[in-house]
Amino acid sequence: MHDLTILSAVLASVVAAATPLLIAALGELVAERAGTLNLGVEGMMIIGAAVGYATAYGSGSLVLGALAGILAGTALSLVFAGLAVWLAANQVASGLATTILGLGLAGLIGAPFVGTKLTAVPQLNIPGLTDLPVIGEVLFGQDAFAYLSILLLILVWIGLGRTRLGLVVRAVGESHSAAHALGHPVRRIRTLAVMFGGACAGLAGAQLSLAYTPFWASDMTAGRGWIALALVVFSAWRPLWLLAGAYLFGAVSILQLHVQGFGLGIPSQLLSALPYLATISALVVISALKKGHGAPASLGVPFVPDR
C-alpha cells in the first residue's frame, strides 16, 4: 500500500514537470507550423515566470498572475514578430535576441522578489476520485495548469488539423508564396501564430513560478524553453506526439531527482545533465529516422511580398 502511495506521488510529479514543457511546446508548434522558428521560447517563458510571480505576489491573486504571465510572454513575442516577420530579419538571430532580452528583463523585474515565497496554486481535489489508488492523484489531483495544458493540446490538435484557420496557418508555413497568391495575409497570420506561441510560453513560465516551484529565482526556467523547442522537432510537428514527448521528459527530470534522493553514489551533476542528454539523444534519433521530413517547408524562411 505504501509503495502505491509513492508511485502515485511520483506519477503526479511527472505530470507537474511535463506541464510547462507541453504548454510551451504547443505554442511553439503553432508558430513553427506557420513557418516561424522562434528561438525566443526560453526568454518568453522566463518573463512569464517573473511577471506572473510579481503580479501574483502584489495582487494576491494567482489567476491574475497567470494572466499577467500570458500577457508578458505575448508582449515579448511581438519583439520577435517585429524583427523576423515584419523586418524579414534572420529568425535564428531574432529568436536569440528575444531570449537574451527576456532573461535580462525578467532578472530586473524579479530582483525585488528574490527570497520571497507564494502559496502554490492549489490542487484540484474531488473527494473519492482523488483518493483512488495510483491514478487518483495523477488524474484528479492536479492543479489548473495541468488541465489547461490538456485542453490546449486538444484545442491545437483540432484547431490545426480540422479547421479552416488551421489549414490557412499550415498553408502559410508550407508555402508562403502560394498562400500569399491565394490572398492570405501571410505576415499577419505569422504574427498571430508567434503571439500564440508567446502566450503559451508565458503561461508555461507562470506555471513554474506559481505552481511548480512557487518562488522566484533568476534562470528558473533552466533551459526548459530550449527543451520545448527540441520537443517540437521530436514530435515531427504533430501535436499529439508532443504529449508523449513532454511526459517522457517530465519523467526523466523527475526520475533523476528521485535517484539523487536515493544517494546511489552517482554524481548529482550527471543526473542533472540527463534531461539535456536525453534531449540530444531524442533529437538525434528522430532526425535519423525522419531525415528532415515533417518540418514545414517554409520554416525559418523570411517572407517579403514582392508582387
Binding site: 530579419a89 535564428v92 531574432s94 532580452l101 530586473l108 530550449w226 554524481p267 534531449t279 533529437l283 538525434v284
Partner: protein, 366 residues
C-alpha cells in the same frame, strides 16, 4: 499609407557601416529611457554606465580584458555564421576548453614548473573546445540533427561537468571546502602585460587570431568555400566543395577559439577553476559576431562595445545598486537594434499610398 520593403539590388557599403552605429545609438537611447523607468537620473546613470569606464586607466584595461574572450569566441563564430551554421553553444565549448586545459595546470601544480606548461594548457584548451564543438557538427552531418539545439544543450552539460569537477575530484584540499580548484602556479598563468592592472598576454593571441582569421576568410580558397557554402549551398556543391567538411571545419575552428578563450580566462584573470567562469561570454559573443558584421576587424570593435556593457554593468551594480541583468537587457537590445537596422542595408523602405496589393501591380518588376 503603408510601408513596404523593397530588396536592394546591391548592398550599400555605407549601410553596412551605418547599421551598427545606428544600432549602438538606438541602444543608448533605449537604455536612457530604461534608466528613467527604473527611477534613476538618466544622465547620471548614463555617465556611470558608459562614460566613466572610458575615462579611468584601470577600467580601460578592464575593457580590453573583458573584450578578449568576446573577441576570440566571436571570431570563431564568424566562421560558423558565414557558413550559415548556427553554433550557439560557444559557452559550452569555452567551458570544455577551460576544463581540458586545466588538466595540465592541476597535474603540474606545486611542481618544478617549466616553459612548456602554459603552451600545453593553451593547446589542450583549444583541443577541448574543438572536440566539444565537433559533437553538434557530427550529429548534424551524420544524423541531420539541428546544430542549434544540440550545441545549446551541450552548454548545460559542460557547465554541470565543470561543477562536478570543482566540487569533487579537483577541489582544492586546502580550499576550506570552497568549490574551486587549486590556484594555478605562475608557470601555468598567462603573464601580465603591465605591472599594474590585469591586461594579459591573451590579448596578443587574440590580435594574432584577428589577422589570421581576416586572411583566411578574405584571401584563401577555404574562406571562399565557407562563404559560398553559407550563401549559395547548391553552387558550392557544384563547385565541388564538400558541405560536410565545411561543417566540421567551422565548428572545429569556433570550438577551438572558444576553448582557447576559456583556458586563457581561467589561467589569466580568474587564476583557478570555479563553478562559474563566465558571465555569459559565449552568448554575448554571438552578438559581437553579428554586430561586427561577420568581419574580423568589425568584431574587434563590437567586442569592445559589448565589453563596455559588462564594465558599466559592474559599475552600476556597485554605485547604483542596479541588478546585473541590466547588462543583459542592453545586450539583447543591441542585438535587436542591429537586426532591425540591417533592414536598411538589405531593403529600401518605400511608402505605398494605395493598399499594397494594387500599388504592387503598377510597380511590378521582373
Amino acid at each position: 499609407m503603408r510601408f513596404k520593403l523593397e530588396r536592394r539590388e546591391t548592398v550599400s557599403g555605407l549601410g553596412l557601416v551605418a547599421a551598427p552605429v545606428i544600432a549602438v545609438l538606438a541602444t543608448l537611447l533605449i537604455g536612457t529611457a530604461m534608466f528613467l523607468v527604473l527611477g534613476l537620473d538618466p544622465l547620471a546613470a548614463f555617465r556611470i554606465y558608459f562614460i566613466d569606464p572610458l575615462t579611468d586607466p584601470y577600467t580601460l584595461q578592464e575593457l580590453v580584458v573583458k573584450a578578449c574572450p568576446l573577441l576570440l569566441i566571436g571570431l570563431g563564430l564568424v566562421f560558423c555564421y558565414r557558413a550559415n551554421r548556427w553554433n550557439i553553444g560557444a559557452e559550452g565549448q569555452y567551458v570544455a576548453g577551460a576544463v581540458l586545459g586545466s588538466i595540465v595546470a592541476i597535474a603540474t601544480n606545486g611542481g618544478e614548473g617549466g616553459w612548456w606548461i602554459l603552451p600545453a594548457m593553451l593547446a589542450m584548451g583549444a583541443i577541448g573546445g574543438a572536440l566539444w564543438g565537433l559533437v553538434p557538427a557530427f550529429l548534424r552531418v551524420r544524423f541531420g540533427a539541428s546544430e542549434i539545439l544540440t550545441s545549446l544543450m551541450l552548454v548545460y552539460v559542460a557547465q554541470l561537468g565543470l561543477d562536478y569537477l570543482v566540487r569533487g575530484p579537483w577541489r582544492d584540499p586546502a580550499g576550506f571546502n570552497f568549490p574551486k580548484s587549486v590556484s594555478f602556479d605562475p608557470a601555468a598563468t598567462v603573464p601580465l602585460l603591465m605591472e599594474d592592472g590585469r591586461m594579459h598576454a591573451g590579448i596578443l593571441i587574440a590580435i594574432v587570431v584577428v589577422i589570421v582569421a581576416a586572411f583566411v576568410l578574405g584571401r584563401t580558397l577555404v574562406g571562399f568555400s565557407i562563404e559560398l557554402g553559407g550563401s549559395a549551398p547548391r553552387a558550392a556543391a557544384f563547385a565541388g566543395f564538400d558541405e560536410r567538411r565545411v561543417t566540421y571545419g567551422v565548428f572545429a575552428v569556433s570550438g577551438a577559439l572558444a576553448g582557447l578563450a576559456g583556458i586563457i580566462e581561467v589561467a589569466g584573470p580568474i587564476g583557478n577553476l570555479q563553478p562559474s567562469i563566465s558571465p555569459g561570454y559565449g552568448f554575448t559573443a554571438i552578438i559581437a559576431a553579428v554586430l561586427g558584421r561577420l568581419n574580423p576587424f568589425g568584431v574587434v570593435l563590437s567586442s569592445l562595445v559589448l565589453a563596455l556593457t559588462y564594465i558599466g554593468g559592474e559599475a552600476a551594480q556597485i554605485s547604483l545598486k542596479m541588478p546585473f541583468d541590466v547588462t543583459r537587457v542592453f545586450q539583447g537590445t543591441m542585438l535587436i537594434a542591429i537586426l532591425a537596422a540591417d533592414v536598411l542595408v538589405r531593403y529600401r523602405v518605400r511608402r505605398v499610398e494605395a493598399p499594397a496589393r494594387d500599388a504592387a501591380k503598377v510597380t511590378a518588376h521582373a
